[in-house]
């Protein structure tokens, strides 16, 4: 069960918003790069975000580059889950690979900055503890949930030696 406070973003948050190219030299120093996470979408996000917080965004979150650093630094910053209307393909896969839960929910517009959410990944239930509303989302496919449970594909492969069964 995931529980956390909401940071609200709009549509089309690109990997350039998340990990700007001007910090290219920090790509091999993720703790430092994480100090600039989402800087071009919300200037003071990295300073204010706290462990366990949840990002709620519009459509096409993570569009653009294949830079896995984007998913990694969101996780390093303490974010426990991203809820969005939709995700760009490469970002979605990267997030699962690094053990960052990503769920698609149509009703994100009903969630506000600062709301407290509770998310049950396996059963596909999101509760907004602030408004009392409950939502159902299509649970993450089992194949990917297995990877998330081991905190990412590297841990999964090290432990099991092969990919989850399709």
């Amino acid at each position: 069960m995931i529980r956390g406070r909401v940071w609200k973003f709009g549509d089309n948050i690109s990997t350039d918003h998340i990990a700007p190219g001007r910090y290219f030299h920090l790509r091999n120093n993720l703790e430092e790069l994480a100090k600039h996470v989402l800087e071009d979408a919300m200037e003071d996000f990295a300073k204010k975000v706290q462990k366990g917080d949840i990002i709620v965004a519009g459509k096409n979150f993570g569009l653009g580059s294949s830079r896995e650093h984007a998913a990694r630094i969101i996780k390093i910053a303490g974010v426990s889950c991203i809820v969005a209307k939709s995700f760009a393909r490469i970002f979605y896969r990267n997030a699962i690979n690094v053990g960052l839960p990503v769920i698609e929910l149509k009703e994100v517009d009903e969630i506000n900055q600062g709301d407290e959410l509770e998310i049950d990944l396996e059963n596909g239930v999101l509760k907004n503890l602030t408004t009392g509303k409950e939502y159902r989302f299509t649970p993450i496919p089992k194949f990917l949930l297995e990877i998330l449970k081991e905190d990412g594909i590297v841990n999964y492969l090290k432990k099991h030696g092969s990919f989850p069964r399709v």
Binding site: R22, S66, E68, A88, I90, N94, V154, K158
Partner: protein, 418 residues
């Protein structure tokens, strides 16, 4: 039931008949990472305990920050060279050019499965290969195992019929597709190109279109492999790599869009999203002043792109207030342009010709914009901050529109200069 190109290529790489929607384990022919994604790829390769590289063709490219502008990047690049030596992986270094262009010139064959830690790996689709961008960890797994899991995508059929008018180019076709589909219109899907305009188009132009498939969210942008493909491979000295490869006539598509090349006009993508597309003829009326013009990148840095731009600039000259940057996409493009006298003419025109590589497109060096400045670039992306400064604006267009803009100093329809 017939197969799409994506289904054909995944069937060949799994050894069984697969359909869209299936999750499969597929062997990969070509895998690569660049200097932005390579160091993390190497870390994860080591973390996974791999001792050798098992993908048949594996490469590392130093193209994003090359030559290196600062010590942190130099250290990352050093790490890539050392890994390359240890594992017997070829490293293309500063001055060699951009990964996608080099792969197209030297290695990609029709029917290949190409996975790269760079989103524009979909460029390989121009040669009838399934090229797709992935993260560093996924590519590390491919380096170590020679395979990874994939979901066979549904396909959107894109039919482009007719003939492009003078001053209208392949770049305008892909901008039109971005306008129609939007930046998420093909998410999790493949694009597959059909129609008389595509059939008559050379591979250089097809690469421009496939390159930007990811800008509508697509996993791949697949072109047929036909006589045009054979011509290109012959020109690259590897005709033996040719084979014809097309979708079956009765393949099943998720949806279909049509574009009429005859009526297409030059287009421009406005800040800060690629799908924010308008006609240049309309935008021209607003007299949007441009400070810098960049002709290059994996989208439009090929020889014919430089030739198209030069033809306009030679005739009309460069506006004194515009900074013009020209970046050949590869060493081969650079050499060909040198031999044809193109580089000399650009230098005489007042251009800054930079070494082959990604150049200013990734916001690290050689063309970072000042506050409030505007650039018109032939690259593929105009996200806020992309070129190193979130307080600047990036416009995207064809090499012809870029050249016409460099002539006048504001966004200009190239048709009156042709």
């Amino acid at each position: 039931m017939g197969k799409t190109l994506a289904e054909k290529i995944f069937s060949e790489h799994t050894g069984r008949d697969v359909k869209a929607g299936e999750i499969v384990l597929a062997r990969v022919d070509i895998a690569m990472a660049q200097d932005g994604t390579g160091p993390l790829m190497i870390n994860e390769f080591r973390e996974l305990g791999f001792k050798e590289v098992k993908v048949p063709k594996a490469f590392l490219f130093i193209d994003h920050a090359s030559p290196s502008p600062r010590k942190e990047l130099s250290n990352s690049q050093k790490m890539m060279r050392e890994f390359g030596k240890e594992m017997g992986v070829k490293v293309f270094d500063a001055g060699d050019g951009i990964s996608h262009q080099i792969l197209a010139e030297k290695y990609v064959k029709p029917g290949d499965l190409v996975a790269g830690a760079d989103s524009h790996t979909c460029t390989a689709g121009g040669l009838g290969a399934f090229g797709t961008g992935m993260g560093s960890t996924d590519v590390a797994i491919i380096f170590g195992l020679g395979q990874n899991w994939f979901k066979v995508p549904e396909t959107i059929k894109v039919v482009v019929n007719g003939k492009l008018q003078d001053g209208v180019y392949a770049k305008d076709i892909i901008l039109e597709i971005a306008r129609i589909l939007g930046s998420d219109g093909a998410t999790y899907k493949a694009l597959e190109f059909h129609g008389s305009c595509i059939e008559n188009m050379n591979v250089e132009d097809r690469l421009t279109i496939s390159n930007m498939a990811v800008e509508v969210g697509a996993k791949a942008g697949l072109m047929p492999s036909d006589e045009k493909t054979r011509e290109f491979l012959k020109k690259m000295g590897r005709e033996e790599d040719f084979r014809e490869l097309k979708a079956d006539p009765d393949a099943v598509y998720e949806t279909e869009i049509e574009i009429d090349a005859d009526t297409l006009e030059p287009l421009v993508s406005l800040p800060h999203y690629v799908d924010n597309v308008r006609k240049v003829s309309e935008v021209e009326k607003e007299k949007i002043k441009i400070d810098q013009v960049f002709i290059g990148t994996c989208t439009n840095g090929r020889l014919q792109d430089l030739e198209i731009a030069l033809k306009i600039l030679e005739k009309h000259g460069k506006h004194p207030d515009v900074r013009l940057i020209v970046g050949p996409a590869s060493r081969k493009v650079y050499m060909d342009a040198l031999e044809k006298g193109i580089i000399k003419k650009f230098v005489e025109l007042g251009a800054a010709v930079i070494p082959p590589g990604c150049g200013p497109c990734v916001g690290i060096h050689m063309g970072v914009l000042g506050d409030g400045e505007r650039v018109l670039s032939t690259q593929n992306r105009n996200f806020k901050g992309r070129m190193g400064n979130p307080n600047a604006e990036i416009y995207l267009a064809s090499p012809a529109t870029a050249a016409a803009t460099a002539v006048t100093g504001y966004i200009t329809d190239p048709r009156r200069f042709i």
